[in-house]
Subunit: 336 residues, 2 copies
């Protein structure tokens, strides 16, 4: 394993320390130094009084998800776990507390057994303390119904859209019920599917998580390297993109005349030049269905460490979701 790390056991903390120092104007990382409270990433300027808080989190290794989305118009706090490991309930509870100024908090949870359980425990704790907390579970991955880590579908890159749009609804002044409702509407209308060209290497393990031949790829890969639908021989980008777009569009039941956000996401080790090739192919496939790609995002936002590969996420838009997507956002990783 060759990685730019010191102690693999402290990879998350060392990275967060650099992140905090580089972006002190935007974020504050709580709990890095001892003695201190639980580890989570909050806004440098603290929670916004009167606004519904929006909090997310999960295992590390998917950066910039979630810490890179803390800031105006998106998340109030993000909770990192160890690499590919759910954050503990005390961390989640601390983040919920920090994001709560009395208007309630929405917790955005990717559908993994550990995340769902730990967030549930933390939410109960926060509620027992008097906070109003609602939860939305993201399960956008159409690849598999259950997996090593999940009952039901996995939450993957579509999570970004849920966080962005819920964050914008909160800024707009929506109540907790309203923010939760719009987040739920995103979940109902977003689907994703990914492909791995290589496996990723968890620092503390030191070797790739699975073997993939020099001439095969894994279609429907999960963001922890968990198995997808099937392995196929390496093929041109057009063919691979079709294997991602078709299941996504079919599952969404996209009809001619609809408008969508098309998000092509890199898994961490794939250069942006290749992501744009996939984007161009995916866009054409959607247009062949009569679908209008009204909004676009291309980049490595929901990653799997150093994995090479990409995912395609499609969100069905309506006027409200489009407006909330367009609303200003100012975070480390998303800014417009």
């Amino acid at each position: 394993m060759k990685k730019l790390l010191d102690d693999p056991a402290r990879a998350v903390e060392d990275s967060l320390a650099g992140f905090a120092a580089a972006h002190a104007g935007l974020v504050r990382v709580h709990g890095l130094d001892e003695p201190s409270g639980p580890l989570f990433v909050g806004r440098a300027d603290g929670a916004v009084a009167g606004k519904v808080g929006v909090v997310s989190g999960g295992g590390s290794g998917h950066e910039p998800l979630h810490a890179g989305f803390v800031g105006d118009g998106m998340l109030d706090a993000a909770v990192p776990g160890a690499v590919f490991t759910s954050p503990t309930p005390d961390r989640v509870a601390a983040a919920l507390r920090a994001a709560d100024t009395g208007a309630g908090v929405l917790a955005v949870v990717k559908n993994y057994t550990g995340d769902v359980l730990n967030f549930e425990t933390a939410v109960e704790l926060a509620q027992a303390e008097g906070a109003e907390v609602a939860t939305v579970v993201v399960d956008d991955d159409v690849a598999v119904e259950d997996s090593l880590y999940t009952a039901g579908r996995r939450g993957v890159a579509g999570t970004l859209a849920v966080e962005k749009i819920a964050g914008a609804a909160a800024v707009r002044g929506d109540s907790l019920d309203q923010v939760a409702a719009v987040a739920g509407r995103v979940v109902a209308n977003v689907r994703s599917m990914g492909v791995a060209l290589t496996a990723c290497t968890v620092p503390a393990v030191g070797r790739p998580g699975f073997d993939l031949g020099d001439d095969e790829v894994e279609i429907g890969i999960g963001i922890h390297g968990e198995p997808g639908r099937r392995r196929v021989p390496m093929a041109p980008a057009s063919e691979i993109t079709r294997l991602l777009v078709d299941p996504v569009a079919d599952d969404l039941g996209l009809a001619a005349g609809e408008r969508v956000l098309l998000f092509v996401n890199g898994m961490g080790g794939t250069p942006s030049s290749e992501l744009y090739v996939v984007y161009g192919r995916a866009r054409r496939l959607l247009e062949e269905r009569g679908v209008t790609v009204a909004r676009s995002l291309v980049g490595s936002y929901v990653t799997s460490l150093d994995m090479q590969g990409a995912s395609v996420t499609v969100l069905r838009l309506d006027e409200e979701l489009e407006g909330l997507w367009d609303a200003p956002v100012r975070t480390v990783a998303l800014h417009w």
Copy 2:
């Protein structure tokens, strides 16, 4: 080779087509379809009347450099060549023409023999047509004095700082001489050095550009995978970072009390979590010298296809450069 491409020979054009479609509000890619003129990337809204134009370009494979920096506050046009190959003079000349509204154009050129030659030819052509054109050559890489591609030092990630600051000076209303002078001041005060953990694979070649053992890294790597200073055994991030920061800081002659921009750049295949570890280590090394890290940038901006690795760039700041760095920028890859 596993890459998300269709025809490796059309990798640049296919990628640019996706880029153009994804960012139609910001950029326009000229010359993609036949019959058409030379290939270059301009602003969607065209050149800004009365403003000095700023143009850059070079071989592809370093994305988002340069096309990702086209837009308000940075470049007016970018000229892509084939992968790791200088753009032809006709492309450069077309970009210079597009960026010229009568106030003159600054060409930002990375110091590679082919780039220098082809830009020179294009600049002469544009001048013969009556345009005022100045050139600044970036040679920030302290690793080697000459290389396979270069007489003198290579231009690497410091180019981003030159483009950002020259672009801001042009927006401020500086004359061509003034924009060229401030760009020259950035070149005089910026230094970089990189490390490769893996080689990159040029699509049309199909295999890694060099062999690097499972337990060694190349210190002082160039952005085309050309050799650096030496190979060393893989080491913790702190040690590797010192091998990058010390030559950069020494060459700059940084003194206690100075303020700098610290830019940790990913080579394309390295996840941001590792870049933040390097950033944290580099920052501490600079602080140990009494230097203040006043501005920061962390991300994969000047890449070498899928290479794993990172570079450290340090720019000595003064009040003017700091203000120009902070000035608003709105491009695909940089936005604040």
